[in-house]
């Protein structure tokens, strides 16, 4: 057996596969920053440019530049002013993802799941917004069917619905097809993709050109990840 396992492990632990550029100009996902933007939009479709830039620590101009490249090369699809990965979500849900990406929506939805039946007053204290703002956002979420508002004497209480759970389950087949299409696309571009790991929530791919290969984790569960602040 060849020597050098320790050194290879040392390099693998310190490597950030997302940032390295491949020597394969012209192919969208050969660019490290572009892969970061693509991965982020798989996690949170229709995210605002400002949020993408802030979370990835890159300028909004850079985010826009890479986003347009991904749209031109059909990795992303555009809907109004927002973009999402082509084939990963039901296109008619773009408005839903836009809402989830807007200020305060994700926090309020998370709070409703954490404390079902939470009052608007308690919710306002929890997410540090005014009661009026919380009331407006909760009504908007209710219009999408994400929560139900129930009058309880002098309180209005917010109860989560199972809409996202149903949409998430219904999206499994679409996400599978999205992963397959991505693998085919990378193969067609000569990036020789390898599937390293696959489960219901993500694909782990390795691909490259010119002797250099990178690893990319592609999140496949946007109905669960778009409104959660981890990852």
């Amino acid at each position: 057996m060849a020597r050098g396992l320790g050194r290879a492990l040392q390099q693998a632990v310190s490597r950030d596969g997302l940032e390295a550029d491949l020597d394969a100009g012209g192919r969208s996902l050969a660019n490290g920053r572009r892969r970061q933007v693509f991965r982020y939009l798989c996690l949170r479709p229709c995210a605002r440019v400002g949020d993408v830039g802030r979370d990835l620590s890159i300028s909004q101009a850079t985010v826009r530049w890479h986003t347009w490249d991904l749209v031109e090369n059909e990795y992303l699809q555009i809907e109004g002013a927002r973009v999402f990965p082509s084939g990963l979500i039901e296109p008619t849900d773009a408005a839903l993802f836009v809402a989830l990406a807007s200020t305060g929506r994700a926090d309020i939805l998370s709070a409703a799941f954490d404390v079902p039946g939470i009052s608007l007053q308690e919710l306002a204290a929890r997410v540090r917004l005014s009661r009026q703002s919380v009331s407006k956002i909760a009504t908007e979420l209710a219009d999408f069917g994400l929560v139900r508002l129930i009058e309880d004497g002098r309180y209005r209480r917010v109860h989560p619905t199972d809409l996202l759970v149903r949409k998430r389950e219904a999206n499994h087949a679409r996400a599978d097809a999205f992963g397959e299409a991505l693998l085919r696309r990378l193969a067609d571009e000569g990036l020789a993709p390898e599937l390293l790991r696959r489960d219901e929530t993500a694909l782990l791919l390795r691909f490259g050109a010119g002797g250099r290969r990178v690893v990319l984790e592609v999140p496949l569960d946007p109905y669960a990840t778009a409104w959660k602040r981890s990852s």
Binding site: R3, L5, G6, R7, V13, S14
Partner: protein, 288 residues
């Protein structure tokens, strides 16, 4: 399953000959219990046999561990480092978690079938990097499953609070590991005492009792490997075999039981009477 020498004097006999190759062992103990010393002995023994060693330090820095090894009298560690047979990796728990999720599959694909000894000291920061218990179990289970493919793995685990091994930080790795060693260190008394117990070891007839151990300069951990067990006897399996000839049962059941008795000793029956065990088994096949 092939056994490899642990490098810890006195431990091999109570582990039924040594550590199972390509297995994962978790060593649990409080601060000062001797976890890092044990891990260093384990990796050094492999280096002496020509195996590669990787020491992933998620807590103390490389220099401190090397200095303590040299103070222990193991200055050959420096030669192994020079030759890159031994590699130290400093990382945070979060960095190592990211590595497990994103880089480990590719690494294992490239190095599958290798025969290294890998130490992760301590595993605790990896657990702390993931809050959700389900994710913790998924991450640790995946890491154990993958790293076994490239070598024999030993992870240390910090023990906090009561030494009952019941907290989720210890339960999850204990459940998933192939072998669990508990180092008990009582530093409160005027006469400090150290005990080592094998909590579990898959595919091994390990010692069931606690064993005193000492840490000796130049030798490291030395375990009192006498386990007090009587020499193995086979009275119960022999009696069981006789019963198989006298009791009526389907041939396939008799053949299966004959085969199952191979290698069993009285210790495996743990006081169960052979006739009672056979009655219970035959209740599974009424009228056949």
């Amino acid at each position: 399953m092939r056994k490899i020498k642990s490098g810890i004097y006195g431990l091999n006999p109570i582990l039924d000959g040594g550590v199972n190759e390509n297995s994962t062992t978790v060593v649990i103990g409080r601060s000062g219990a001797g976890k890092t010393t044990l891990a260093t002995q384990f990796i050094r023994r492999g280096l002496q046999d020509g195996q590669e060693g990787v020491f992933v330090s998620l807590d103390e820095n490389k220099e401190q561990i090397i200095r303590e090894a040299v103070e222990m009298g193991w200055s050959d560690i420096l030669d192994y480092l020079e030759d890159e047979l031994l590699v130290f990796i400093d990382a945070s728990g979060r960095e190592f978690s990211n590595f497990i999720r994103k880089e480990l599959p590719a690494f294992v694909a490239d190095w599958k079938g290798s025969n290294a000894r890998i130490v992760i000291d301590p595993l605790t920061p990896v657990l702390w990097s993931v809050k959700d218990l389900y994710e913790q179990r998924d991450l640790i289970g995946y890491m154990f499953k993958q790293t076994r493919k490239v070598g024999t793995v030993l992870c240390t685990l910090e023990e906090h609070g009561q030494a009952d091994l019941a907290g989720p930080e210890t339960v999850i790795p204990m459940y998933l590991a192939d072998c669990v060693v508990h180092l008990k260190f009582n530093s409160d008394d005027a006469d400090p005492s150290r005990l080592l117990k094998i909590v579990k070891c898959r595919n091994s007839r390990h010692s069931p009792t606690s064993h005193a151990f000492q840490i000796v300069r130049g030798l490291g951990i030395v375990v009192d490997g006498r386990d007090g067990r009587k020499p193995a006897t086979v009275r119960a399996p022999a009696q069981f075999r006789q019963l198989l000839q006298t009791r009526a049962m389907p041939k396939k059941v008799r053949d299966h039981l004959e085969k199952a008795l191979d290698g069993l000793t009285d210790e495996d029956f743990r006081g169960l009477k052979p006739e009672d065990v056979l009655d219970l088994i035959l209740q599974e096949y009424p009228g056949e």
